[in-house]
Symmetry: C2
Subunit: 239 residues, 2 copies
């Protein structure tokens, strides 16, 4: 189900065998995979259930889960909905960018168990993680949405000083890389995860205030040591 | 001037021709380059001037400049002091890591003009930037010291939630990379640039509070657009 241009490109590279209009597609599917922007996923959930065969598995790839799982709870009766979040991606989009190894070793969150879907996730090389929607949204607020907003804020602060670019080095570049992300993707994420993001921002501001209060004090050594330990743990594959 | 082990390693790889004790070395030098930790630079400045020949150029590679330039203003009379900050480095240290191309294209800040020293800086491929000590410290607080403390704070916040590592992706890794930096390097930087770092942290916390107040509002689109523009400018070589 996509635009005529995308369908044509997808047929050409062999990514799909055939395209169908939404209503027809969901009526003949065993598995429905919603990989649209979050707001479109929410709209689609409202219209498909009447057309699916009973027991059809419906999943999605939205970056926030509570709004989507709640919506599915209201609208999906004949199908079986399992929220999903494949935590992999590219800086470029479009069917031409398809890559079979994209999910290798990456976390793939499911919001409930479903043996058939689990087998499928494992078969594309992803690492299964089960989280309920609430917990998922809280954790990605911390590990993904907060980093994005930090990067956006830092780029704006540095950008407000014309002389700063003269001395900006690897540290500034590392921390402003995410600031290039397009707002179109983030609008839906911010709207559907505002509560958790607000909490993450609050906790982070508190951390910064602690650090600010003890800049030249002996507590800083412990802050640095704990941070280095945490940074290492994030980089260990078993984590 | 270094420890016996470092001298031996440096002679072995041909990085130096000879080593001397501090007092003898400064007495026979045309150019004295202080590449010690900041607190050691401050100590060295207090003891060398009596031994140098009049007109000897003394420069340094300390990451903050106001404390060092102030100290030199008090103690250096016979020598000519020019504060320096080569903005390049490696994650590994030691004479074995020497690399001729380390400074290619990187900013090299001098706090005052000195034609001979400028020629030398240009000859190693660095890009000359003139900044007085105060302005240098203000700008690096924004572009280097603030990013470090953000990364330290974020690593500690993420580290405080054991479940976070399960979903940490490229965003979390990007922003916590600096958190692995050793405190030994940062202690002196934080102590000698506390005022500017405090101001940068204050401005950044204010930015985050603005963003927090308008999370799902239309202002966010402008925040993202301005940030993307700033991130691009930091990445243009002409900046």
């Amino acid at each position: 189900v996509s635009s005529p241009q995308t369908v044509e490109a997808a047929l050409k590279i062999g990514a799909i065998d055939e395209a169908q209009p939404l209503q027809r597609a969901v009526a003949i599917s065993d598995l429905i995979y919603l990989s649209q922007p979050i707001e479109r996923i929410l709209e689609t959930i409202e219209v498909i259930d009447a057309h699916v065969r009973p027991g059809t598995v419906i999943t999605d790839a939205g970056s926030t889960k509570r709004a989507i799982v709640d919506k599915a709870g209201q609208w999906i009766r004949r199908g079986i909905f399992v929220g999903g979040h494949p935590m992999a991606g590219k800086e470029v989009s479009g069917v031409q960018q398809a890559e079979a190894s994209l999910f290798h070793g990456r976390p793939y969150v499911l919001t409930s168990r479903h043996p058939e879907l689990e087998t499928w996730v494992v078969s594309i090389g992803a690492r299964l993680v089960f989280l309920d929607a609430e917990e998922h949204d809280r954790l990605v607020a911390l590990t993904s949405h907060l980093p994005q907003l930090i990067s956006t804020s830092l780029a704006n602060l540095i950008g407000s000083d014309p002389a700063a670019a003269k001395v900006a080095g690897p540290a500034a570049l590392d921390l402003t890389r995410l600031a290039a992300s397009p707002y179109e993707i983030w609008r839906d994420i911010l709207r559907t995860n505002a509560t958790s993001i607000d909490a993450a921002l609050g906790a982070f501001i508190w951390q910064l205030q602690q650090i600010r209060a003890s800049l030249a004090g002996p507590e800083m050594e412990r802050e640095f040591e704990a941070a280095a330990k945490s940074a290492r743990q994030l980089r260990t594959p078993s984590a």
